[in-house]
Symmetry: C2
Subunit: 230 residues, 2 copies
DNA sequence: TTTTAAAACTGATAAAAGTCATTTACAAAA
DNA sequence: TTTTGTAAATGACTTTTATCAGTTTTAAAA
């Protein structure tokens, strides 16, 4: 049942790509495999982290809730990604929640296991640092775009982000089932505003929709729209 | 002329707080001391980083420019802080520019010196990682607030940020000379909008201004205003 | 298939913030 | 001190986006 880290699809691309065979075996033995239904909370804002999640399959949003109930998505997480490392490194409570956007499976590694690994394998520590630097860069990009770009452009960008993150290239056109609510929390705007611009994109033949499923027909046009102020 | 790292005011609080005496001597010998006038560019978006800056005195903004000329401040840097590490770790070009908000002095450490240090002193590497995690957390906060809070609240928050960052507690009330343009780039709004809310704050006795100098009289009220949606 | 609940969509209106034009205040130079 | 350029401040107006109220569609349960 538990996936074996030594045969894992992501063993050459994950944070643990520079682990030895023995280190991966050690991880495998001590980890805990979890299954989450779509919409289920993986960890919750304000709680203490107990370890690190490594997504085996599924889609996850990391988001924060304002007191007025509004949600802002900070990061999208895909299979092969690690989740929950920031609070672990800072040794603070989670500042955001992680919620499954789809049925999701994740391996869980305890703090002590994680700390032992980064204390003994310099390469893993270095890879972790690079990952932090990359995520910081991505977050800064988001911040700047949120401040400077109008909603239409940010929506185009969000659709491309979804495609770049979750496209498995199994179909000619990328499709994703996502609620307008979730999409508006990624863009940082109101649900109705997202719907209006999606309608525009539909009229322009850039996307098509069926229920909550969105299919991207012309990502080239989305790229053009999103880059207007770059 | 060159400040000595072993006697530096920030030797117990900077990124290099866990360096040995010899490591600090090594840094001192090989570093380069630079002086920047207010408004001068320390490094520029798109350029390749050659090393790390450690601010000895002054104030620095890290910001990105949109093609329409609009600027967004990503981070405020004070004396004792390091600057330019993200691009160094990721080994990419600078994605933002650093500009002196005041006359500023900074020490410059070459890439090789920096890499050697984090390769040989695990504590420094670990401190660097923690710093990255903290800055990432701060940036996520900024992102969420930008998406959820109205300008008035973000302005109150920005004024508190300036106070928390640059207050030397030499006077009863914190004062800072900052252009409305710079302030609006921190808040992520238009110059005129900032001026209007500053006028409101003045009428309410929260701040006073003289030219471009802003004095915070009631930071308690600012805190209340900024937290309305927390 | 009918029912029903939830989510997508649409329209009207309000609120927030941006833009442009102009005046006023400040600070540096003559 | 007067001049002059720059930045702050204010006012009028526009644009963008949010909010609210409603209708239609979708998909799942009875």
């Amino acid at each position: 049942m538990n996936p074996n880290c030594n045969t894992c699809e992501f063993r050459h691309s994950s944070l643990f790509k520079n682990c030895t065979h023995d280190e991966l075996s050690q991880l495998s033995e001590n980890k805990c495999f979890n299954v989450y239904k779509k919409g289920q909370v993986i960890f919750h804002e304000g709680n203490r982290p107990l370890g690190l999640f490594c997504i085996f399959d599924g889609k996850v949003k990391v988001s924060r809730l304002g007191s007025d109930g509004k949600e802002q998505v900070i990061r999208l997480v895909k299979k092969g990604d690690t989740l929950g490392y920031r609070s672990l490194i800072e040794n603070t409570k989670y500042s955001a929640s992680a919620i499954a956007l789809d049925d999701t499976q994740a391996c869980f590694i305890t703090i002590s296991e994680f700390n032992h690994l980064i204390d003994t394998n310099v390469k893993v520590a270095s890879d972790l640092m690079k990952m932090l630097a990359k995520v910081l860069g991505d977050t800064q990009d988001k911040l700047v775009h949120l401040a400077m770009k109008p909603v239409r452009e940010r929506l185009a960008e969000a659709l491309l982000l979804l495609k770049n993150t979750y496209d498995d290239k199994k179909a000619e056109h990328f499709s994703i089932s996502i609620s307008r609510e979730d999409l508006s929390s990624i863009v940082g705007t109101a649900k109705e505003t997202v719907i209006r611009f999606l309608s525009e994109f539909k009229e322009e033949g850039i996307i098509s929709t069926k229920g909550s499923e969105i299919t991207i027909l012309r990502s080239d046009k989305l790229l053009k729209i999103s880059s207007l102020y770059d």
